[in-house]
Assembly symmetry: C2
Homo-oligomer: 256 residues x 2
Protein backbone atom coordinates (compact mmCIF):
# COMPACT_ATOMS: atom_id res chain seq x y z
CA UNK A 1 0.00 0.00 0.00
CA UNK A 2 1.58 3.23 -1.13
CA UNK A 3 1.06 6.24 1.09
CA UNK A 4 0.70 8.38 -2.04
CA UNK A 5 -2.49 6.52 -2.95
CA UNK A 6 -4.24 7.26 0.33
CA UNK A 7 -5.35 10.71 -0.72
CA UNK A 8 -7.27 12.44 2.02
CA UNK A 9 -7.73 9.37 4.18
CA UNK A 10 -5.85 10.71 7.19
CA UNK A 11 -7.08 7.98 9.55
CA UNK A 12 -5.50 5.27 7.44
CA UNK A 13 -2.45 7.37 6.75
CA UNK A 14 -2.00 8.03 10.44
CA UNK A 15 -2.45 4.43 11.43
CA UNK A 16 0.12 3.39 8.87
CA UNK A 17 2.83 5.65 10.21
CA UNK A 18 1.90 5.89 13.89
CA UNK A 19 4.56 3.97 15.83
CA UNK A 20 3.70 0.88 17.86
CA UNK A 21 4.45 0.94 21.61
CA UNK A 22 6.38 -2.28 22.30
CA UNK A 23 7.51 -3.69 25.65
CA UNK A 24 8.94 -7.06 24.68
CA UNK A 25 9.98 -8.90 21.56
CA UNK A 26 11.14 -12.43 22.25
CA UNK A 27 11.36 -15.93 20.84
CA UNK A 28 11.35 -18.31 19.23
CA UNK A 29 9.60 -20.10 22.08
CA UNK A 30 6.46 -22.17 22.51
CA UNK A 31 3.02 -20.67 22.92
CA UNK A 32 2.17 -21.78 26.44
CA UNK A 33 -1.63 -21.80 26.42
CA UNK A 34 -4.89 -22.08 24.52
CA UNK A 35 -5.61 -23.44 21.05
CA UNK A 36 -2.01 -23.03 19.89
CA UNK A 37 -0.40 -24.50 23.01
CA UNK A 38 3.02 -25.81 22.05
CA UNK A 39 3.28 -23.84 18.77
CA UNK A 40 6.71 -22.46 17.94
CA UNK A 41 6.20 -18.71 17.75
CA UNK A 42 7.72 -15.28 18.31
CA UNK A 43 6.08 -12.83 20.71
CA UNK A 44 5.52 -9.10 20.36
CA UNK A 45 4.11 -7.63 23.57
CA UNK A 46 2.54 -4.21 23.16
CA UNK A 47 2.19 -1.61 25.93
CA UNK A 48 -1.13 -0.30 27.20
CA UNK A 49 -4.36 -1.90 28.34
CA UNK A 50 -7.96 -0.81 28.87
CA UNK A 51 -8.23 -3.35 31.71
CA UNK A 52 -6.60 -3.53 35.15
CA UNK A 53 -7.04 -7.19 36.08
CA UNK A 54 -6.25 -7.79 39.76
CA UNK A 55 -4.13 -10.84 38.93
CA UNK A 56 -2.62 -9.67 35.60
CA UNK A 57 0.64 -11.50 34.93
CA UNK A 58 1.82 -8.69 32.64
CA UNK A 59 0.83 -5.68 34.79
CA UNK A 60 4.03 -3.94 33.70
CA UNK A 61 2.30 -3.33 30.37
CA UNK A 62 -0.15 -0.89 32.00
CA UNK A 63 0.82 -0.02 35.62
CA UNK A 64 3.59 2.42 34.70
CA UNK A 65 6.35 0.30 36.23
CA UNK A 66 7.95 -0.30 32.81
CA UNK A 67 7.06 2.94 31.09
CA UNK A 68 10.71 3.78 30.48
CA UNK A 69 11.12 0.46 28.64
CA UNK A 70 8.46 1.20 26.03
CA UNK A 71 9.95 1.47 22.57
CA UNK A 72 8.00 3.27 19.85
CA UNK A 73 8.69 1.15 16.79
CA UNK A 74 7.62 1.01 13.17
CA UNK A 75 6.36 -2.23 11.66
CA UNK A 76 9.65 -2.53 9.81
CA UNK A 77 11.69 -2.10 12.97
CA UNK A 78 9.66 -4.79 14.73
CA UNK A 79 10.16 -7.20 11.84
CA UNK A 80 13.88 -6.45 11.83
CA UNK A 81 13.99 -7.25 15.54
CA UNK A 82 12.03 -10.49 15.00
CA UNK A 83 14.34 -11.51 12.17
CA UNK A 84 17.39 -10.79 14.29
CA UNK A 85 16.09 -13.13 17.01
CA UNK A 86 14.43 -15.78 14.88
CA UNK A 87 16.36 -15.68 11.63
CA UNK A 88 14.81 -18.05 9.10
CA UNK A 89 13.62 -20.37 11.88
CA UNK A 90 10.19 -18.91 12.52
CA UNK A 91 6.96 -18.59 10.58
CA UNK A 92 4.56 -17.47 13.32
CA UNK A 93 4.24 -14.31 15.43
CA UNK A 94 1.94 -13.80 18.42
CA UNK A 95 0.73 -10.31 19.28
CA UNK A 96 0.02 -10.02 22.99
CA UNK A 97 -0.17 -7.26 25.56
CA UNK A 98 -1.53 -5.44 27.33
CA UNK A 99 -4.32 -5.23 24.81
CA UNK A 100 -3.03 -5.01 21.23
CA UNK A 101 -6.60 -4.29 20.12
CA UNK A 102 -6.08 -0.70 21.28
CA UNK A 103 -3.67 -0.16 18.38
CA UNK A 104 -5.13 0.45 14.91
CA UNK A 105 -1.60 0.87 13.59
CA UNK A 106 -0.92 -2.88 14.00
CA UNK A 107 -2.54 -3.24 10.58
CA UNK A 108 0.76 -2.37 8.91
CA UNK A 109 2.70 -4.92 10.97
CA UNK A 110 0.22 -7.71 10.22
CA UNK A 111 0.29 -6.97 6.48
CA UNK A 112 4.07 -6.89 6.38
CA UNK A 113 4.33 -10.12 8.38
CA UNK A 114 1.93 -11.80 5.95
CA UNK A 115 3.94 -10.46 3.03
CA UNK A 116 6.96 -12.15 4.61
CA UNK A 117 5.08 -15.45 4.82
CA UNK A 118 4.47 -15.39 8.57
CA UNK A 119 1.23 -16.34 10.34
CA UNK A 120 -0.05 -13.96 13.00
CA UNK A 121 -1.86 -14.77 16.23
CA UNK A 122 -3.56 -12.28 18.53
CA UNK A 123 -4.43 -12.41 22.22
CA UNK A 124 -7.02 -9.92 23.39
CA UNK A 125 -9.85 -9.77 25.92
CA UNK A 126 -12.59 -8.91 23.44
CA UNK A 127 -13.30 -5.39 24.68
CA UNK A 128 -12.38 -3.61 21.42
CA UNK A 129 -12.66 -4.36 17.72
CA UNK A 130 -10.14 -3.52 15.02
CA UNK A 131 -10.75 -4.22 11.34
CA UNK A 132 -7.39 -5.98 11.19
CA UNK A 133 -8.89 -8.75 13.38
CA UNK A 134 -10.17 -10.18 10.08
CA UNK A 135 -6.61 -10.78 8.92
CA UNK A 136 -5.44 -12.56 12.08
CA UNK A 137 -4.71 -16.25 11.49
CA UNK A 138 -5.34 -17.45 15.07
CA UNK A 139 -7.29 -15.18 17.36
CA UNK A 140 -7.84 -15.75 21.08
CA UNK A 141 -10.54 -13.84 22.95
CA UNK A 142 -10.11 -14.04 26.71
CA UNK A 143 -12.97 -12.26 28.48
CA UNK A 144 -12.12 -11.74 32.13
CA UNK A 145 -13.98 -13.45 34.99
CA UNK A 146 -15.20 -11.76 38.21
CA UNK A 147 -11.94 -12.36 40.12
CA UNK A 148 -10.23 -9.92 37.75
CA UNK A 149 -12.37 -7.05 39.05
CA UNK A 150 -13.33 -6.21 35.45
CA UNK A 151 -16.82 -6.09 33.90
CA UNK A 152 -17.51 -7.80 30.59
CA UNK A 153 -19.22 -5.67 27.94
CA UNK A 154 -21.37 -8.47 26.57
CA UNK A 155 -22.78 -6.41 23.72
CA UNK A 156 -19.28 -5.61 22.52
CA UNK A 157 -18.21 -9.24 22.86
CA UNK A 158 -21.32 -10.39 20.97
CA UNK A 159 -20.49 -8.05 18.13
CA UNK A 160 -16.84 -9.10 17.93
CA UNK A 161 -17.76 -12.78 17.92
CA UNK A 162 -20.43 -12.26 15.27
CA UNK A 163 -17.94 -10.50 13.04
CA UNK A 164 -15.34 -13.24 13.52
CA UNK A 165 -17.94 -15.93 12.75
CA UNK A 166 -19.02 -14.05 9.62
CA UNK A 167 -15.38 -13.76 8.61
CA UNK A 168 -14.92 -17.53 9.22
CA UNK A 169 -11.95 -16.64 11.41
CA UNK A 170 -10.04 -19.34 13.25
CA UNK A 171 -10.57 -18.22 16.84
CA UNK A 172 -11.27 -19.43 20.35
CA UNK A 173 -12.55 -18.21 23.67
CA UNK A 174 -10.32 -18.73 26.70
CA UNK A 175 -11.39 -18.04 30.28
CA UNK A 176 -8.94 -18.03 33.18
CA UNK A 177 -10.52 -19.56 36.28
CA UNK A 178 -9.42 -18.87 39.85
CA UNK A 179 -12.49 -19.97 41.81
CA UNK A 180 -16.08 -21.26 41.65
CA UNK A 181 -17.45 -17.85 40.71
CA UNK A 182 -15.06 -17.66 37.77
CA UNK A 183 -16.09 -21.14 36.69
CA UNK A 184 -19.72 -20.04 36.75
CA UNK A 185 -18.75 -17.10 34.54
CA UNK A 186 -16.88 -19.47 32.19
CA UNK A 187 -20.02 -21.57 31.88
CA UNK A 188 -22.02 -18.47 30.96
CA UNK A 189 -19.50 -17.62 28.24
CA UNK A 190 -19.62 -21.14 26.82
CA UNK A 191 -23.43 -21.22 26.92
CA UNK A 192 -23.63 -17.85 25.16
CA UNK A 193 -21.25 -18.87 22.33
CA UNK A 194 -21.61 -22.66 22.10
CA UNK A 195 -20.27 -22.72 18.54
CA UNK A 196 -16.91 -21.20 19.52
CA UNK A 197 -13.91 -23.36 20.48
CA UNK A 198 -13.72 -23.04 24.26
CA UNK A 199 -10.76 -23.24 26.66
CA UNK A 200 -10.59 -22.87 30.42
CA UNK A 201 -7.29 -22.38 32.18
CA UNK A 202 -6.42 -22.34 35.88
CA UNK A 203 -5.27 -18.93 37.07
CA UNK A 204 -1.83 -18.42 38.57
CA UNK A 205 -2.40 -16.86 42.00
CA UNK A 206 1.28 -17.07 42.99
CA UNK A 207 2.78 -14.47 40.69
CA UNK A 208 5.39 -13.45 43.28
CA UNK A 209 6.67 -17.02 43.80
CA UNK A 210 10.19 -17.27 42.41
CA UNK A 211 10.90 -20.81 43.63
CA UNK A 212 9.87 -23.22 40.90
CA UNK A 213 9.91 -26.13 43.42
CA UNK A 214 7.16 -24.41 45.39
CA UNK A 215 5.26 -22.98 42.41
CA UNK A 216 4.89 -26.17 40.38
CA UNK A 217 3.04 -28.37 42.92
CA UNK A 218 0.67 -25.47 43.48
CA UNK A 219 0.00 -24.98 39.76
CA UNK A 220 -0.50 -28.73 39.34
CA UNK A 221 -3.02 -28.77 42.20
CA UNK A 222 -4.91 -25.85 40.63
CA UNK A 223 -4.99 -27.64 37.27
CA UNK A 224 -6.22 -30.85 38.90
CA UNK A 225 -8.94 -28.92 40.69
CA UNK A 226 -10.14 -27.35 37.45
CA UNK A 227 -10.08 -30.70 35.61
CA UNK A 228 -12.21 -32.23 38.39
CA UNK A 229 -14.73 -29.38 38.19
CA UNK A 230 -15.07 -29.58 34.42
CA UNK A 231 -15.17 -33.38 34.25
CA UNK A 232 -18.02 -33.45 36.77
CA UNK A 233 -20.00 -30.73 35.00
CA UNK A 234 -22.63 -31.98 32.55
CA UNK A 235 -23.00 -28.56 30.92
CA UNK A 236 -19.32 -28.42 30.03
CA UNK A 237 -18.79 -31.03 27.34
CA UNK A 238 -17.12 -29.50 24.29
CA UNK A 239 -14.37 -27.93 26.36
CA UNK A 240 -10.58 -27.87 26.65
CA UNK A 241 -8.85 -27.60 30.03
CA UNK A 242 -5.21 -26.63 29.69
CA UNK A 243 -2.62 -25.16 32.04
CA UNK A 244 -0.12 -22.42 31.21
CA UNK A 245 2.58 -24.82 30.09
CA UNK A 246 5.24 -22.09 29.99
CA UNK A 247 4.68 -21.32 33.67
CA UNK A 248 5.23 -24.99 34.55
CA UNK A 249 8.50 -24.91 32.65
CA UNK A 250 9.85 -21.44 33.35
CA UNK A 251 7.89 -20.28 36.38
CA UNK A 252 7.13 -16.58 36.72
CA UNK A 253 10.08 -15.40 34.63
CA UNK A 254 9.50 -12.74 31.98
CA UNK A 255 10.36 -13.21 28.32
CA UNK A 256 9.58 -16.88 27.85
Amino acid sequence: MSMANLGGNTVLANSAVRPIPVLEIFGPTVQGEGMLAGRKTMFVRTAGCDYRCSWCDSAFTWDGSAKDDIRLMSAGEIIAALDQLGGSGYDHVTLSGGNPALLPQLQALISQLHDAGKKVALETQGSRWQDWFKQIDHLTLSPKPPSSGMETDWQQLDEIINRLLQNKSQFCLKVVVFDEQDLYYAKQVHARYPQVLFYVQPGNDQLAEQEQERLLPHLLARYQWLIEQVMADKELTSVFVLPQVHTWVWGNKKGF
Copy 2:
Protein backbone atom coordinates in the same frame (compact mmCIF):
# COMPACT_ATOMS: atom_id res chain seq x y z
CA MET B 1 -27.88 -50.19 8.97
CA SER B 2 -30.08 -53.23 9.06
CA MET B 3 -28.31 -56.57 8.86
CA ALA B 4 -31.18 -57.89 6.72
CA ASN B 5 -30.24 -55.44 3.96
CA LEU B 6 -26.67 -56.64 3.67
CA GLY B 7 -27.54 -59.58 1.46
CA GLY B 8 -24.48 -61.61 0.60
CA ASN B 9 -21.93 -59.05 1.84
CA THR B 10 -20.39 -61.29 4.44
CA VAL B 11 -17.36 -59.08 4.99
CA LEU B 12 -19.51 -56.16 6.10
CA ALA B 13 -21.84 -58.42 8.01
CA ASN B 14 -18.91 -59.98 9.83
CA SER B 15 -17.31 -56.66 10.68
CA ALA B 16 -20.61 -55.40 12.03
CA VAL B 17 -21.06 -58.27 14.43
CA ARG B 18 -17.47 -59.18 15.24
CA PRO B 19 -16.84 -58.15 18.84
CA ILE B 20 -14.27 -55.52 19.75
CA PRO B 21 -11.43 -56.50 22.11
CA VAL B 22 -11.38 -53.82 24.80
CA LEU B 23 -8.91 -53.34 27.65
CA GLU B 24 -10.01 -50.07 29.19
CA ILE B 25 -12.95 -47.72 29.04
CA PHE B 26 -12.49 -44.60 31.15
CA GLY B 27 -13.35 -40.96 31.46
CA PRO B 28 -14.40 -38.28 31.24
CA THR B 29 -10.86 -36.96 31.47
CA VAL B 30 -8.66 -34.65 29.44
CA GLN B 31 -6.77 -35.73 26.35
CA GLY B 32 -3.20 -35.34 27.50
CA GLU B 33 -1.31 -34.82 24.25
CA GLY B 34 -1.28 -33.70 20.64
CA MET B 35 -3.69 -31.51 18.71
CA LEU B 36 -6.55 -32.11 21.16
CA ALA B 37 -4.49 -31.60 24.32
CA GLY B 38 -6.86 -30.57 27.10
CA ARG B 39 -10.05 -31.78 25.34
CA LYS B 40 -12.66 -33.38 27.59
CA THR B 41 -13.04 -36.88 26.23
CA MET B 42 -13.78 -40.53 27.03
CA PHE B 43 -11.22 -43.22 26.18
CA VAL B 44 -11.74 -46.67 24.70
CA ARG B 45 -8.48 -48.63 24.67
CA THR B 46 -8.47 -51.63 22.37
CA ALA B 47 -6.26 -54.70 22.76
CA GLY B 48 -3.69 -55.81 20.23
CA CYS B 49 -0.90 -54.12 18.34
CA ASP B 50 1.21 -54.80 15.26
CA TYR B 51 4.10 -52.94 16.92
CA ARG B 52 6.25 -53.75 19.96
CA CYS B 53 7.77 -50.37 20.84
CA SER B 54 10.58 -50.72 23.35
CA TRP B 55 9.20 -47.87 25.46
CA CYS B 56 5.46 -48.44 24.94
CA ASP B 57 3.49 -46.95 27.84
CA SER B 58 0.59 -49.33 27.16
CA ALA B 59 2.51 -52.57 26.63
CA PHE B 60 -0.23 -54.44 28.48
CA THR B 61 -2.30 -54.06 25.30
CA TRP B 62 0.00 -56.45 23.44
CA ASP B 63 2.50 -58.21 25.75
CA GLY B 64 0.01 -60.73 27.14
CA SER B 65 0.21 -59.38 30.70
CA ALA B 66 -3.42 -58.25 30.62
CA LYS B 67 -4.87 -60.89 28.32
CA ASP B 68 -7.33 -62.03 30.97
CA ASP B 69 -8.70 -58.49 31.21
CA ILE B 70 -9.67 -58.27 27.54
CA ARG B 71 -13.43 -57.98 27.14
CA LEU B 72 -15.01 -58.83 23.82
CA MET B 73 -17.71 -56.19 23.47
CA SER B 74 -20.25 -55.10 20.89
CA ALA B 75 -20.49 -51.46 19.83
CA GLY B 76 -23.68 -51.20 21.86
CA GLU B 77 -22.04 -52.59 24.98
CA ILE B 78 -19.17 -50.12 24.66
CA ILE B 79 -21.56 -47.20 24.29
CA ALA B 80 -23.55 -48.41 27.31
CA ALA B 81 -20.30 -48.48 29.31
CA LEU B 82 -19.38 -44.97 28.10
CA ASP B 83 -22.83 -43.68 29.00
CA GLN B 84 -22.63 -45.23 32.44
CA LEU B 85 -19.35 -43.41 33.12
CA GLY B 86 -20.01 -40.15 31.28
CA GLY B 87 -23.78 -39.77 31.41
CA SER B 88 -24.85 -36.72 29.44
CA GLY B 89 -21.57 -34.94 30.23
CA TYR B 90 -19.50 -36.05 27.27
CA ASP B 91 -19.58 -35.50 23.52
CA HIS B 92 -16.19 -36.88 22.50
CA VAL B 93 -14.63 -40.35 22.48
CA THR B 94 -10.98 -41.22 21.79
CA LEU B 95 -10.10 -44.62 20.38
CA SER B 96 -6.63 -45.64 21.43
CA GLY B 97 -4.67 -48.86 21.83
CA GLY B 98 -2.73 -50.86 21.09
CA ASN B 99 -3.50 -50.10 17.48
CA PRO B 100 -7.24 -49.68 16.88
CA ALA B 101 -6.51 -49.67 13.13
CA LEU B 102 -6.23 -53.46 13.30
CA LEU B 103 -9.99 -53.66 13.91
CA PRO B 104 -12.32 -53.27 10.89
CA GLN B 105 -15.28 -53.84 13.22
CA LEU B 106 -14.76 -50.41 14.84
CA GLN B 107 -16.84 -49.07 11.93
CA ALA B 108 -20.02 -49.97 13.79
CA LEU B 109 -18.90 -48.24 16.99
CA ILE B 110 -17.95 -45.04 15.14
CA SER B 111 -21.28 -44.93 13.29
CA GLN B 112 -23.25 -45.47 16.47
CA LEU B 113 -21.27 -42.82 18.34
CA HIS B 114 -21.91 -40.36 15.54
CA ASP B 115 -25.60 -41.25 15.61
CA ALA B 116 -25.54 -40.39 19.32
CA GLY B 117 -23.99 -36.98 18.54
CA LYS B 118 -20.49 -37.81 19.73
CA LYS B 119 -17.24 -36.86 18.00
CA VAL B 120 -14.63 -39.59 17.60
CA ALA B 121 -10.84 -39.29 17.74
CA LEU B 122 -8.35 -41.99 16.79
CA GLU B 123 -4.73 -42.58 17.79
CA THR B 124 -2.75 -44.90 15.56
CA GLN B 125 0.80 -45.25 14.29
CA GLY B 126 -0.08 -45.17 10.60
CA SER B 127 0.89 -48.73 9.78
CA ARG B 128 -2.59 -49.85 8.64
CA TRP B 129 -5.53 -48.25 6.84
CA GLN B 130 -9.20 -48.79 7.55
CA ASP B 131 -11.96 -47.22 5.48
CA TRP B 132 -13.55 -45.92 8.67
CA PHE B 133 -10.56 -43.54 9.04
CA LYS B 134 -12.56 -41.26 6.73
CA GLN B 135 -15.25 -40.87 9.38
CA ILE B 136 -12.89 -40.03 12.24
CA ASP B 137 -13.28 -36.43 13.43
CA HIS B 138 -9.74 -35.98 14.81
CA LEU B 139 -7.09 -38.44 13.70
CA THR B 140 -3.57 -38.65 15.08
CA LEU B 141 -0.86 -40.56 13.22
CA SER B 142 2.17 -41.27 15.38
CA PRO B 143 4.88 -43.00 13.36
CA LYS B 144 7.49 -44.43 15.68
CA PRO B 145 11.11 -43.18 15.78
CA PRO B 146 14.24 -45.36 15.87
CA SER B 147 14.34 -45.64 19.67
CA SER B 148 11.13 -47.70 19.48
CA GLY B 149 12.94 -50.47 17.62
CA MET B 150 10.24 -50.36 14.92
CA GLU B 151 10.64 -49.67 11.20
CA THR B 152 8.35 -47.18 9.46
CA ASP B 153 6.67 -48.43 6.29
CA TRP B 154 6.93 -45.13 4.41
CA GLN B 155 4.93 -46.30 1.43
CA GLN B 156 2.05 -47.26 3.69
CA LEU B 157 2.28 -43.96 5.59
CA ASP B 158 2.37 -42.03 2.29
CA GLU B 159 -0.79 -43.76 1.17
CA ILE B 160 -2.64 -43.18 4.44
CA ILE B 161 -1.71 -39.51 4.46
CA ASN B 162 -2.72 -39.06 0.82
CA ARG B 163 -6.11 -40.59 1.53
CA LEU B 164 -6.62 -38.38 4.59
CA LEU B 165 -5.64 -35.28 2.62
CA GLN B 166 -8.02 -36.25 -0.19
CA ASN B 167 -10.75 -36.78 2.39
CA LYS B 168 -9.98 -33.34 3.92
CA SER B 169 -9.67 -35.08 7.28
CA GLN B 170 -8.70 -33.14 10.38
CA PHE B 171 -5.53 -34.94 11.34
CA CYS B 172 -2.01 -34.48 12.63
CA LEU B 173 1.33 -36.23 12.82
CA LYS B 174 2.87 -36.71 16.24
CA VAL B 175 6.37 -38.02 16.85
CA VAL B 176 7.64 -39.01 20.29
CA VAL B 177 11.28 -38.02 20.72
CA PHE B 178 13.70 -39.65 23.16
CA ASP B 179 17.04 -38.60 21.69
CA GLU B 180 18.87 -36.86 18.84
CA GLN B 181 18.32 -39.76 16.47
CA ASP B 182 14.57 -39.60 17.11
CA LEU B 183 14.62 -35.86 16.49
CA TYR B 184 16.34 -36.45 13.17
CA TYR B 185 13.56 -38.93 12.32
CA ALA B 186 10.94 -36.35 13.35
CA LYS B 187 12.52 -33.86 10.98
CA GLN B 188 12.33 -36.38 8.15
CA VAL B 189 8.63 -36.93 8.85
CA HIS B 190 7.94 -33.19 8.89
CA ALA B 191 9.93 -32.62 5.69
CA ARG B 192 8.08 -35.45 3.94
CA TYR B 193 4.63 -34.15 4.89
CA PRO B 194 5.09 -30.40 5.33
CA GLN B 195 1.37 -29.70 4.83
CA VAL B 196 0.34 -31.84 7.82
CA LEU B 197 -0.07 -30.37 11.32
CA PHE B 198 3.04 -31.56 13.18
CA TYR B 199 3.64 -32.29 16.87
CA VAL B 200 6.73 -33.50 18.67
CA GLN B 201 6.53 -34.80 22.21
CA PRO B 202 9.26 -35.79 24.66
CA GLY B 203 9.26 -39.50 25.44
CA ASN B 204 8.75 -40.77 28.97
CA ASP B 205 11.77 -42.95 29.75
CA GLN B 206 10.79 -43.46 33.40
CA LEU B 207 7.74 -45.68 33.03
CA ALA B 208 8.52 -47.56 36.25
CA GLU B 209 8.80 -44.42 38.37
CA GLN B 210 5.87 -44.32 40.80
CA GLU B 211 7.02 -41.27 42.78
CA GLN B 212 5.54 -38.20 41.16
CA GLU B 213 8.03 -35.96 43.01
CA ARG B 214 10.87 -37.70 41.20
CA LEU B 215 9.09 -38.16 37.87
CA LEU B 216 7.95 -34.57 37.32
CA PRO B 217 11.34 -32.77 37.40
CA HIS B 218 12.62 -35.39 34.98
CA LEU B 219 9.70 -34.93 32.56
CA LEU B 220 10.10 -31.15 32.79
CA ALA B 221 13.79 -31.42 31.96
CA ARG B 222 13.02 -33.66 28.97
CA TYR B 223 10.42 -31.16 27.72
CA GLN B 224 12.85 -28.26 28.13
CA TRP B 225 15.48 -30.18 26.21
CA LEU B 226 13.10 -30.81 23.33
CA ILE B 227 11.94 -27.18 23.27
CA GLU B 228 15.56 -26.04 23.09
CA GLN B 229 16.29 -28.41 20.20
CA VAL B 230 13.27 -27.33 18.19
CA MET B 231 13.67 -23.62 18.88
CA ALA B 232 17.25 -23.73 17.63
CA ASP B 233 16.38 -25.70 14.50
CA LYS B 234 15.76 -23.59 11.39
CA GLU B 235 14.09 -26.48 9.53
CA LEU B 236 11.47 -26.91 12.25
CA THR B 237 9.24 -23.86 12.03
CA SER B 238 5.59 -24.86 11.71
CA VAL B 239 5.80 -27.21 14.68
CA PHE B 240 4.13 -27.83 18.04
CA VAL B 241 6.14 -29.07 21.03
CA LEU B 242 3.90 -30.41 23.78
CA PRO B 243 4.44 -32.70 26.75
CA GLN B 244 2.11 -35.49 27.89
CA VAL B 245 0.12 -33.26 30.22
CA HIS B 246 -1.65 -36.24 31.84
CA THR B 247 1.68 -37.73 32.92
CA TRP B 248 2.63 -34.45 34.63
CA VAL B 249 -0.64 -34.54 36.52
CA TRP B 250 -1.16 -38.22 37.22
CA GLY B 251 2.26 -39.77 36.70
CA ASN B 252 2.45 -43.32 35.39
CA LYS B 253 -0.98 -44.38 36.66
CA LYS B 254 -3.30 -46.29 34.35
CA GLY B 255 -6.81 -45.11 33.49
CA PHE B 256 -6.31 -41.38 33.42
